[in-house]
């Protein structure tokens, strides 16, 4: 047990030195906050994602799907006549905009229930009856009605593929307090067909086959027309949900990286807070405090600090998490799936994780200092030289351990084939291993710099030499501080290089990919399986305009293949766009020829990586005329989708899916043509047609980068958080170190050193430590980015990224290191220069 007197004497110390406690608390809280925030953002976004996916598939176990344009509605009648005992419901759905939000319009047949999610069944208002007979009537979830202030009977304006139309809200759906049903409009299938322009067509038939009855499934498969597929929604949903798993793993790992920095931070501050009181603790030992008492006192102290820090951290994390949710959801939305729901999920699990991380990390971090404080004999604990000589002995061992960890990291990296977790394990080992080597390197630098200064220095530089060699002299303190700083800065560098490389790669890719001069696009997509087509008569008028050398039609659709439902860019393969697709493998010209002739398709790099496909392999499509196999003639770079994409010639698509429409038109102009006047001419043709945009290539490229920036905003924020953690880490590490040295400086002051010289010494020493950290962080940061780019990124997304190390990233990191360290010297120097030498000595 700890005696009250002992406790009091120690707490009194904290009141005298609020900075120490403050820095410790900040260190803990930031580490915890980042982890909690990312956790909340991840969980919430995933929840929203799951609900959105479920809202689309409902409780259906299977789906019958047709081509990207859906299937003839009469198939539904045929089906229920053939399989009357199977719960089957037709679905006509799409996306519309309401007050700027993307809303899922669900057209259902109220006589067949399987499409409805559990939350919705049995809760229909009686007014639902009117859905059937009154055109353009919808039901709206209670939460959404509340949120948007929409009452029953209200007319609301929705935008469908860019044109606005009014529908009448005649009732509510869902439970009054069920927030899960949001972003949804429920209509009768007739209204849905009419609004979405899908008359005569249904998107799919949802089935509920309670037990996985193989006989029934086989019977359905046999009965199905060749152009249709029977898909298990469970498997479909799972693969949809799995799409984001790599993305989420990355975010979690990034937050762990932040925590790792936080751990160093906590360890560092705790060490200093203990060691700074070496004298006090030693005296207490002399006065009869037992080892156990000292040990538990230090741990209790760490515990209180960690509780306060964790508490603040959790609150901070929740606040931060709310902001991050939007960013993560935004990324999922633009990369993976249209989210119609936003949720904010806080589970007790997140809190427990955050609290454990904060408390346990702090306790572990203070365990060594506590042990050190308690283990030494009373009289010896007061002498730092003893600790330093011990540290000197330990240094080679620590360095060796560090080198060993780096070695293991490299081995894991090369042995693990595509495991993402192994990639991260390797990354973490590298960081920790490198951090362990840092004290030794720092010591060497300090020593040799001292020797160098000896040779060239004048007499006045003795003090500065002291400052420099002091780093090596108290390596037990400076080593930890520098290691913590290296980790912090390297994370900033590593993430910075990764983002910059990625962005540069995408920029170059966009440059290559978008060679047309003018693009005419449809704006809003209604269907989730095919882009909204451009009106045929407009296209006809545009393509004959003077000054146009070639036109490329494009439409993105989703087709069923033997690798699942995949995104396919259907293009008119004019010669001008051949070079737009940069091939990773495959011979450019013959590959293009076979694509053009409809013999083969291109697949994107992530698709090839995911399914281990190469040129010469084949993909089988379910077409309107049964299964058709296409060879792969090229694998092209693409950064627009991590699920992978396919390029297919339009003649093939039109022939096998009976769809002759295009959704965007790329125009390649003659050299002599006047772009502005052509744009004016197109605008005149398009005139009032809603939902069509005309853009030039510059804007599109800009849009690509905007999208990139939006998508990776979350990564930027993480980088920013890492910078803050690094900054505070450096600040606290160095400040604690210098505060500890105040006594030493007191002696120097007594020996006649001026405050000005003190400022100089302290500044030089911390600045040097900052600089050493900054410089050592550069190689670690670069190695980290190499692992992030070459391993983590490829294993997560399958994207090749050209490494580009921007000078700015490194300058930024160095600047952070140096500014933070100089700033760290301000308070101790100021304090020292204000204190009279006598007073400083008295403290001793």
């Amino acid at each position: 047990m700890v005696s009250p007197i002992l406790s009091r004497s120690i707490w009194k110390y904290f009141f005298k030195h609020p900075w120490v406690i403050l820095l410790s608390i900040i260190g803990v809280s930031i580490g915890v906050a980042v982890v909690v925030a990312i956790d909340i953002a991840n969980t919430s976004a995933q929840k929203a994602f799951e609900i959105s996916v479920e809202n689309v598939t409902g409780t259906a176990t299977h789906q019958i799907t047709g081509g990207p344009l859906g299937m003839d509605e009469s198939i539904y009648t045929d089906f229920i006549m053939q399989f009357p005992e199977i719960e089957a419901s037709p679905v006509v759905e799409g996306y519309v905009k309401l007050e700027g939000e993307t809303i899922h319009l669900m057209g259902l047949d109220i006589f067949s229930s399987s499409y409805m999610t559990d939350e919705m069944s049995g809760t229909f208002d009686m007014s639902a009856l009117s859905l059937l007979v009154v055109p353009r009537t919808v039901l709206i979830p209670y939460v959404m009605a509340d949120r948007m202030d929409i009452a029953n009977g209200d007319m609301i304006t929705v935008s469908i593929a860019g044109s606005e139309t009014e529908v009448k809200v005649i009732g509510n759906v869902g439970d009054e307090d069920d927030s899960k049903i949001d972003g949804l409009l429920v209509a009768d299938i007739s209204t849905s067909q009419e609004l979405l322009g899908k008359t005569g067509v249904i998107d799919n038939i949802s089935l509920v086959i309670t037990e996985d009855d193989k006989d029934i499934l086989t019977a359905i498969e046999e009965w199905l027309p060749v152009e249709m597929s029977l898909i298990s929604t469970a498997a479909g949903n799972e693969s949809t949900l799995n799409m984001t798993s790599a993305f989420r793993t990355n975010l979690t790992a990034m937050s762990m990286l932040a925590l790792l920095v936080g751990m160093f931070l906590i360890y560092n501050t705790m060490t200093f807070s203990v060691l700074q009181r070496r004298g006090l603790l030693g005296s207490l030992r002399v006065l009869g405090a037992t080892r156990r008492e000292i040990f538990s006192e230090v741990l209790i102290e760490a515990f209180f600090i960690s509780i306060i820090g964790t508490g603040i951290g959790v609150i901070l994390g929740v606040v931060l998490g709310q902001g991050l949710v939007k960013l993560v959801a935004g990324t999922i939305d633009s990369l993976y799936f249209t989210l119609t729901v936003t949720t904010f999920e806080i589970s007790s699990g997140i809190f427990i994780k955050g609290i454990l991380l904060g408390v346990v990390t702090s306790l572990v971090a203070s365990f060594i200092p506590a042990f050190e404080a308690a283990a030494s004999r009373p009289q010896i604990v007061r002498f730092r030289s003893v600790i330093e000589s011990l540290a000197q002995k330990l240094l080679p061992k620590i360095t060796l351990a560090g080198l060993g960890m780096i070695g293991i990291s490299v081995v894991i990296l090369f042995l693990s084939e595509s495991s993402l977790i192994a990639g991260f394990a390797s990354l973490f080992l590298l960081v920790i291993g490198f951090a362990l080597c840092v004290p030794m390197i720092a010591e060497l630098i300090s020593k040799y710099l001292g020797i160098f200064m000896n040779k060239v220095g004048s007499k006045t530089s003795v003090l500065y030499k002291m400052a420099v060699t002091g780093i090596a002299g108290s390596i037990s303190r400076t080593g930890t501080a520098i290691a913590a700083m290296v980790v912090a800065i390297s994370v900033v560098i590593g993430m910075g290089i990764m983002i910059e490389s990625f962005r540069t790669t995408v920029q170059l890719w966009a440059q290559q990919m978008i060679q047309g001069d003018i693009y005419v696009n449809t704006m809003e997509n209604v269907s989730s399986t095919a882009e909204t087509p451009l009106p045929y008569e407009l296209v006809e008028q545009i393509v004959v305009l003077d000054g146009i050398e070639a036109t490329k039609g494009l439409k993105t659709v989703f087709l069923v293949t033997d690798y699942g439902t995949l995104e396919v860019d259907v293009i008119t393969p004019v010669e001008q766009c051949r070079t737009e697709y940069q091939l990773k493998t495959g011979n450019d010209i013959p590959a293009w020829e076979s694509l053009k002739n409809g013999e083969a398709v291109y697949i994107s790099e992530p698709l090839a990586y995911k399914h281990n496909l190469s040129v010469g392999d084949a993909i089988t499509f379910t077409t309107e005329q049964g299964k058709q196999e296409y060879g792969i003639s090229g694998i092209y770079y693409d950064y627009s989708s991590d699920a992978g994409k396919i390029i297919m010639a339009k003649n093939v698509y039109t022939k096998y899916w009976h769809d002759d429409t295009i959704a965007s038109l790329g125009l390649y102009l003659e050299d002599s043509a006047d772009k502005d006047s052509i744009i004016t001419a197109i605008k005149a043709i398009v005139a009032d047609a809603a939902g069509i945009t005309i853009t030039d290539s510059f804007t599109i490229r800009g849009n690509v980068l905007d999208l990139f920036d939006r998508t990776f905003l979350i990564t930027r924020v993480l980088e920013f958080l890492a910078i803050i953690v690094a900054f505070i880490g450096i600040l606290s590490a160095l400040m604690a170190y210098q505060l500890e040295k105040i006594k030493e400086l007191g002696i120097l002051r007594a020996a006649g050193v001026t405050p000005r010289q003190i400022w100089g010494m302290t500044g030089l020493q911390t600045g040097l430590m900052g600089a050493i950290s900054g410089i050592l962080a550069i190689p670690l940061g670069i190695f980290m980015s190499i692992i992030l780019i070459q391993t983590i990124n490829i294993r997560s997304f399958g994207w090749s990224i050209q490494m580009s190390i921007g000078a700015w990233t490194i300058i930024e990191a160095l600047a952070i290191a140096i500014v933070a360290s100089l700033l760290a010297s301000v308070y101790p120097s100021w304090k020292m220069s204000k204190t009279s030498p006598a007073e400083a000595l008295r403290e001793e």
Binding site: M81, P84, F111, G122, L129, L132, V133, P135, S190, T191
Partner: protein
């Protein structure tokens, strides 16, 4: 009679579908007591007296067949009501009910580009009573009159709700085929009239209330020779026997005082049939308006009115749903000076579907000699709670 009550039944059902349709759609096997979901009070749920825009049954018309066998969409409600008693080769008796209901959700047809847009919906009820084993099976289906999911076609003469159908020869000639199947219980029958079409009320204009303020068009074929098979749990029984067809369409509804009805259809062994109904007030007492017919051997009819048959409850049965039904009746047919006993072939013939009522096969005895069954028929009782 059953007529306007059935109108209400239909309406409340239509509403019900939408209140809790998902739990009812699969239908229930009454034998297993597999019900679920909430029930509504038929009478209370019905309140719409807004008949504007619909055709009204307010004058005597000339019926033409087969045209009038088909739907009359400008009226709000209509049904094709088959019931019957059948026997297999071993003498086992089965009762069945197959009813197609048509409901107009609005008087107007809107011009829609979507084929799914319609103002007509259909519902069907299918029950089978295994009398030897005292097992009762009942199911229901709904669908809209669109894309062949439900509805009527003139040629071939066919009405369906999903895969359940009634199919005539050519444009409506008999025999008609009846088919329904669900969860291993099936019915496939050919029905051919043994009697002419008979018209209720004033030449088929059948009133529902004392002041004759509401009416329906109502005709019946009281005896149809029936052959075919039924299937229970995969066991097939070739069956034959007699069926009864009730056809009715209207727009007007019951008045607000009425709380339920008891409807009797009796096929006597002497080749006469009797149909009679009794309306009840909400408090359960008898409403003073009755209608009925006696159909003679030669299809000639005797009209029955209020008080022509005196009904007395002899016994009741309480269902597991908690509702008590009078399952045994004494019917004094005044004009024939005959007293009949009408008793459920077995008690548990309650349809616990989206709306709850009792409709089942009955045995008919002479009150003087209750040992011998002198006829069979169907009894429908609604509005009991």
């Amino acid at each position: 009679m059953a007529i306007s009550m059935r109108v209400r039944l239909l309406y409340s059902l239509a509403v019900l579908i939408l209140i809790a349709f998902s739990s009812f759609l699969p239908g229930c096997n009454c034998e297993n007591g597999d019900t679920g979901g909430t029930k509504i009070n038929i009478i209370e749920a019905l309140s719409s007296s807004d008949t504007e825009g619909y055709s009204i049954a307010d004058k005597v018309i000339d019926f033409t067949f087969p045209k009038d066998h088909g739907p009359h969409e400008s009226f709000r409600n209509e049904w094709w009501y088959f019931t019957g008693n059948l026997y297999d080769s071993e003498g086992n008796r089965f009762g069945y009910q197959l009813t197609f209901f048509r409901i107009a959700l609005s008087p107007l047809t809107t011009d829609r580009t979507s084929a799914w847009g319609t103002n007509q919906i259909y519902m069907a009820h299918f029950t089978l009573s295994d009398i030897e084993n005292e097992k009762f099976y009942c199911f229901e289906k709904f669908n809209r009159d669109a894309l062949g999911l439900a509805g009527f076609s003139e040629n071939p003469f066919k009405m369906n709700v999903g895969d359940w159908y009634m199919l005539g020869t050519g444009d409506g000639d008999f025999p008609w085929q009846l088919y329904a199947s669900k969860n291993g219980v099936s019915l496939s029958l050919d029905v051919t009239p043994l009697k002419d079409i008979v018209f209720e009320g004033d030449d088929g204009l059948s009133y529902k209330s004392v002041d004759k303020s509401s009416a329906s068009y109502y005709y019946s074929i009281t005896k149809l020779a029936t052959n075919g098979y039924i299937e229970i749990d995969g066991v097939r029984h070739e069956v034959s026997g007699n069926s009864w067809l009730d056809r009715e369409w209207s727009t007007s509804t019951l008045n607000e005082e009425q709380g339920g009805w008891d409807w009797f259809s009796m096929q006597l062994n002497d080749n006469t049939e009797i149909v009679y109904f009794q309306l009840r007030y909400k408090d359960g007492s008898v409403y003073p308006y009755n209608e009925g017919l006696i159909v003679n051997d030669d299809s000639s009819t005797i009209k029955l009115g209020t008080g022509d048959i005196v009904l007395t409850v002899l016994d009741t049965w309480k269902s597991s749903t908690g509702v008590t039904y009078p399952v045994k009746w004494k019917a004094e047919v005044v004009s024939l000076a005959k007293t009949l006993i009408v008793e459920g072939a077995f008690n548990a013939q309650e349809l616990d579907l989206s709306t709850r009522y009792w409709e089942g096969a009955v045995n008919i005895y002479d009150a003087q000699d209750t040992d011998e069954i002198i006829g069979t028929g169907y009894l429908e009782m609604t509005g009991y709670e």
